[in-house]
């Protein structure tokens, strides 16, 4: 469960994909491909991005909905909220003024 989330976040390309989805939710595979190439200059194939999206989906960080021949990808931040708490929980909360 949490293992999938950490493994998904381990790759810099996947973190960039999450960034793009924060900026504009509900993008298709081709849109994400275009953004990664033009805005960040990384040259990867469409299948590479597709596989990254699959990893993000099994981690629960991306939820997909199909409409016709389009498949839209929505960001789901819920798995991100409890991740660090595993080690921050019972710590003395240092001065947070």
């Amino acid at each position: 469960m949490a293992d999938d989330v950490f493994k998904a976040l381990a790759d810099p390309t996947r973190r960039l994909i999450l960034d793009e989805l924060v900026e504009r939710n509900g993008q298709t595979l081709f849109e994400i491909c275009g953004r990664l190439v033009t805005k960040h200059g990384l040259g990867l194939s469409r299948q590479a991005v597709s596989q990254h999206l699959a990893v993000l989906e099994t981690a629960g960080l991306v939820i997909t909905r199909r409409e016709g021949r389009y498949k839209f990808h929505d960001l789901n931040t819920e798995p991100l909220e409890h991740i660090a708490g595993r080690w921050l929980g019972q710590k003395a909360p240092e001065s947070t003024p």
Copy 2:
């Protein structure tokens, strides 16, 4: 910078090490080895744990201090606090009562 933190957290053994340091801070390499073997039943060599600790240290999650022939490992949770905020930042903060 953040890349090191995510890569460090990607491995389940390293996450277990952080758990052990939460439970008891300032352990030596041999102490951590013993705990991983006895409490969690994983059979890994001392060098494996040493390499894991090195990864955690370059990520800033573990800080070491040397005293004589002992090297104590202290947890540093600071890099964990801003990790998820990258994607949670401009999201509507749900009810935190």
